[in-house]
């Protein structure tokens, strides 16, 4: 019996399939960069002088082992934390802060430079809660900085920082840096963590 050759499979469309795959992956791949909240730990310094800070300039945030939030000795929901922190930072009680929009409540912080947020957590607190609280507090600072930058330069602080990091941005980076520093100085991030 004559051997019949197996018919050759047409492989011409193979390239098309490969291209299709290639384009699909080209579009869907995101090269992962990690994102996160940057923090700076206080240096280990044993002979630190105790600085006396007025009680009204400290905004205490306490997270207990059951992930409950105690802000200034009152229970609070995570949702309200940002607003409370903004109110505290932007209070401007002693009147030296001419850009503050707060209530100028004498029982709250003197000015943004003196206002300190103190964060304390229990060992049993979950990491998720801790990060959420950190996030809200950073958000409070960013909100104030954004507002201030908007009124000074017509651009939010976050945008300015993004521009500064963007290599393709056309403009004077030196000037931009000065502006960013100025905003940072007006609303310094003073977040202390109790160990």
């Amino acid at each position: 019996m004559a051997k019949r050759a197996a018919p050759e499979v047409n492989a011409g469309s193979m390239a098309d399939i490969a291209f299709l795959l290639l384009i699909f992956f080209l579009v869907t791949t995101t090269i992962e960069t990690d994102t996160g909240i940057n923090r700076k730990l206080p240096p280990m310094d044993d002979n630190q002088e105790d600085v006396i800070i007025k009680q009204k300039n400290i905004f205490t945030v306490l997270v207990n082992g059951k992930d409950e939030l105690l802000v200034e000795d009152e229970r609070m929901n995570l949702k309200d934390l940002r607003k409370a922190a903004v109110e505290f930072l932007d209070n401007g009680g002693d009147g030296t802060c001419d850009y503050c929009h707060g209530k100028k409540d004498p029982a709250s912080s003197d000015n943004p430079d003196k206002a300190i947020i103190s964060l304390k957590n229990a060992r049993e607190t979950s990491y998720k809660m801790y990060v959420s609280v950190q996030n809200e507090l950073v958000a409070a600072y960013n909100e104030l900085r954004d507002k201030r930058a908007m009124s000074l330069y017509g651009k939010t602080f976050t945008e300015m920082q993004a521009d500064y990091d963007n290599v393709n941005w056309v403009g004077n980076k030196e000037r931009l840096k000065e502006k960013i520093e100025k905003i940072k100085e007006e609303y310094p991030q003073k977040l202390s963590e109790v160990q």
């Binding site: 994102t35 996160g36 730990l41 998720k128 990060v131």
Partner: protein, 157 residues
């Protein structure tokens, strides 16, 4: 009927597959460029928490990674408490100093002050371990840290 009879008419000529290697090479190069190698095999659950006030952590060569979380399914024998992972192994809090020293030694000297420690911690981990890690980092003067998170809204997750 001639001897050199033509093959049956109408049959398609075989399509050249000579360009297939090119395509394969192209794919190869693409993935070579786009792939980020995973340095560590995780032995812990590592479900990062969400946050939206995040900054990008670029300059990958200047980052030291510390992982923490509860041991994953196949490493159950190590218990259910939050554990620290450095490189490929479970580690103790006391190992962190040595780890940081080793990481610093492997970098050029002028880059050492710019090193950041990224804490990749599972969202269910307890803060006790993190506090220990932070205390240990302060001791070795590695003060720049980053709580690595996923980008997303805090309240919707």
């Amino acid at each position: 009927m001639s001897k050199f009879k033509k093959k049956k008419g109408g049959e398609l000529p075989a399509i050249s597959t000579a360009s297939l290697p090119d395509i394969v090479f192209m794919l190869l190069f693409f993935f070579m460029v786009a792939t980020v190698m995973r340095e560590n095999t995780l032995m812990i659950k590592n479900n990062l928490p969400y946050a939206d006030q995040v900054e990008k952590l670029d300059k990958k060569d200047l980052v030291m990674y510390i992982y923490a979380g509860k041991p994953s399914e196949q490493y159950k024998q190590y218990g259910t408490e939050t554990k620290i992972q450095l490189n490929d192994k479970f580690a103790d809090v006391s190992d962190i100093a040595a780890f940081i020293a080793a990481e610093r030694a492997s970098k050029r000297e002028e880059l050492v002050p710019f090193l950041t420690t990224a804490l990749k911690v599972d969202k269910d981990a307890s803060m006790g371990t993190i506090m220990d890690i932070k205390q240990e980092l302060r001791k070795v003067n590695a003060l720049k840290i980053n709580y690595t998170t996923k980008k997303g809204d805090v309240f919707s997750h």
